[in-house]
Symmetry: C2
Subunit: 259 residues, 2 copies
């Protein structure tokens, strides 16, 4: 089966000019079919502030009211996405910026109001693997912003990590999928203050132990939960690393394995 | 040769909810391959005002400094484009939002500073007709925002009328192209105060006479100049009408012909 590389980059990686420049170079150097999924939360928060739109977070998650949906649609789908696309084109990478609405590649359902009303936030219902495969086969490099739609005309804000995992899982029937989560650290660290303490390999058993020890906590927990779910759905390999790790070969960063 | 319909809609048509709803319905009813090119100037001006970015116009053309480029990239490429895409998807139209940077479909060159420095404004250099044809053949409906790129990583603001004409001309080798300019009036009017005074047909000779009489003036002149140039480059048919004219068959509005 052909390899497909899916890279998810966090906001900080694409929002600072120097980081973005090296990401564009390293991502462009990846051979074969590939997809980039990006965040943009810091830019959205900054733009919201300039517009006088209040940013409300509950347990690290953004509340997306109508005014905030306008901001994230502009910032994720326009500003961040098109700057990445134009930058990749300068590296001869045939980038195609998309949201879940474009060609209906990712449809979601607005999250029901529970204890918290997250507003215009979508939980993924369907990924069009055959549509994405046709684009990849045609040589396009999808650059996916963290937005989906409900199929009824409503755009919805959606978590970029979750989108990357869902796309990786959906494409695992057609490709041997290598999923790489890029963020500002070189991997999952045993000691958060020591960048040389990267944990090479995490299995579900090791993960449980690391959680008990408090070494893995906070924002890393949903990322790892998502990742192990994606591995169970057939994703071949998942790595957590910083963008420089993209060029560092398969060993860079933390590798997640089912066993 | 297969027919291809290219519809260009002005800002007012896509920026008011009621107009947009009828456009989405009428555009979705068009049979065969099709492309939508949209504006968004009013939304950009409104967003710029909210952000404290000054809108400067010279002879009806926007000056695009760095701050305004950020605004139009967000508003055209994100807010306006994605709302149209999600709305078309709700009508089972397989919309794919794009700028000229996406898949490098339209490359431009930053306009040289003359008497006026228009800033980050691009004049079209190349349209990738074969890339667009592949997308159309795959069933995608490109929805194109008025932005291009220079191939070096720079997004550029570009006139939507010009983009529609350039795309129509470039695709005329592969398709019998029907280009429709939709705006708020039912066609070119003999009497601007009488919506029943639509001129059915304009040839280059009639155009010269209408200009002399002062019936065609201002913003309509570049639109018609563009159109006759496109006809000379092989575009099969050009009409100027309001969105309701899309559903009205080939007779609605003003038809432009070389003779």
């Amino acid at each position: 089966m052909q390899e497909l590389t899916i890279v998810k980059v966090g906001g900080k990686v694409v929002e600072e000019a120097e980081n973005l420049a090296s990401l564009l170079r390293d991502f462009s150097a990846i051979k074969g079919p590939k997809i980039l999924v990006h965040g943009g939360g810091r830019s959205a928060t900054a733009m919201a502030q300039r517009l006088g739109v209040e940013t409300k977070m509950v347990e690290g998650r953004r509340i997306t009211d109508a005014a905030m949906l306008e901001v994230v649609t502009m910032v994720y789908g326009g500003l961040v996405n098109k700057n990445i696309v134009a930058g990749l084109q300068a590296h001869q990478t045939n980038a195609l910026g998309m949201t879940g609405a474009d060609m209906n590649i990712i449809r979601s359902k607005r999250r029901a109001k529970g204890a918290v009303d997250y507003g215009f936030v979508g939980d993924i219902e369907a990924v069009d693997a055959s549509g994405l495969t046709r684009l990849l086969t045609a040589g396009a490099v999808p650059v996916i912003a963290p937005l989906t739609h409900d199929g009824q005309g409503q755009m919805l804000n959606t978590n970029a990590d979750t989108m990357a995992s869902a796309v990786a899982a959906a494409l695992s029937d057609q490709f041997q999928v290598m999923l790489v989560f890029c963020f500002e650290l070189p991997g999952v660290l045993r000691d958060i203050n020591n960048r040389d303490s990267v944990i090479d390999r995490i299995t579900p058993e090791i993960y449980q132990a690391l959680k008990k020890e408090g070494i893995v906590a906070d924002g890393m927990i949903p990322k790892l939960d998502n990742s192990f779910a994606a591995l169970e759905q057939g994703v071949a390999q998942i790595r957590i690393t910083h963008p420089q790790g993209l060029a560092g070969g398969a060993d860079a960063g933390t590798m997640l394995r089912l066993k």
